[in-house]
């Protein structure tokens, strides 16, 4: 038997509140996904007016970050581009290299992934990082 530290709904809601508070009128309606360490969603959210694909995207980003324990931009640059691989090499249709997904680490252990979609990928990542800080986790 062994025990594992896992992300709970309370942490996810904390991140949600922080991100919603950080959104400005300049931001487009966005989607947020928070997943556990297996990439299974804990909280999904799509603002009024955000197209459905934004949530699919956010979900894929959170899944990728959580599964690999990597931020999606790091995955793209260091593991895909730098080694001239493609996403097909991983054989997982849920995986993406789009920027905006961050791995959530607590005490050095990956406990999940958080991702935003709807704005520029840079802004998406910045917003996701606000959620990460609200959880009190390392990136």
């Amino acid at each position: 038997m062994f025990q594992e530290l896992r992300l709970g709904l309370a942490e996810a809601e904390r991140a949600r509140d922080a991100i919603l508070a950080a959104l400005t009128p300049n931001d487009s309606p966005a989607a947020l996904a928070i997943a556990d360490e297996h990439g299974v969603p804990i909280l999904l959210l799509r603002q009024d007016g955000a197209p459905a694909r934004m949530l699919s995207r956010a979900r894929a980003k959170a899944y990728t970050s959580a599964n690999l324990g990597l931020d999606t931009v790091e995955f793209r640059d260091r593991h895909v581009k730098a080694r001239q691989r493609t996403l097909n090499d991983w054989g997982d249709p849920m995986m993406t290299t789009l920027q905006g997904g961050l791995a959530i680490r607590v005490d050095g252990k990956v406990v999940g992934g958080i991702a935003m979609s709807g704005n520029t990928t840079n802004r998406d990542e910045a917003l996701a990082r606000i959620g990460l800080e609200a959880i009190g986790a390392e990136g």
Binding site: I42, L43, L44, L45, R46, D48, L55
Partner: protein, 160 residues
């Protein structure tokens, strides 16, 4: 052009909160999914301990209820009566597991609500109903606030 009502994030959060408030300690950890009229997720939460199966089921229940415009339990009865199976719809996202509730406003489908994880599909449905009731209460309050309080005979005739 037409105007169509859809369930928004505020409504979705209201429904989810009503369901979580209505759940009892004897219920298992829940996953609750709210989708808009097109079946696309708007808000979804998974309580600590709910499994990946619950996530999948809640999403599929909500999707089915919005897509077919019937509560999943009702739809199961209907297709059983008609001698059909889910496969006849050629849509792998559809399910007849109880716990998917159609959200309507003025007879129009505005979304769907799916609950999974309580331990029995009928309890899931009961909880989904509580979410729908919370939205219905909001709709009634809105209607009351807009209603002309005067008796009908005192109201001004408005031109057609």
């Amino acid at each position: 052009m037409i105007q169509q009502l859809f369930v928004g994030l505020d409504d979705a959060c209201t429904a989810v909160k009503a369901i979580l408030d209505a759940s009892r300690p004897s219920d298992g950890p829940l996953c609750i999914s709210v989708v808009d009229g097109a079946g696309n997720p708007v808000y979804e939460v998974r309580q600590d301990g709910a499994s990946a199966v619950d996530v999948r089921n809640a999403e599929r229940k909500a999707y089915t209820a919005a897509y077919i415009g019937r509560d999943t339990s009702m739809w199961r009865l209907q297709i059983l009566h008609d001698g059909r199976t889910v496969a006849d719809w050629s849509n792998p996202n559809m399910t007849t597991i109880h716990g998917g509730w159609t959200l309507r406003r003025a007879s129009q489908v505005i979304g769907g609500l799916g609950v999974s994880g309580s331990g029995s599909e009928d309890r899931d449905e009961q909880l989904a109903l509580r979410g729908a009731e919370a939205l219905a209460a909001l709709a009634v309050a809105e209607w009351r606030s807009k209603r002309d309080p005067r008796p009908i005979r005192d109201r001004q005739e408005t031109a057609p």
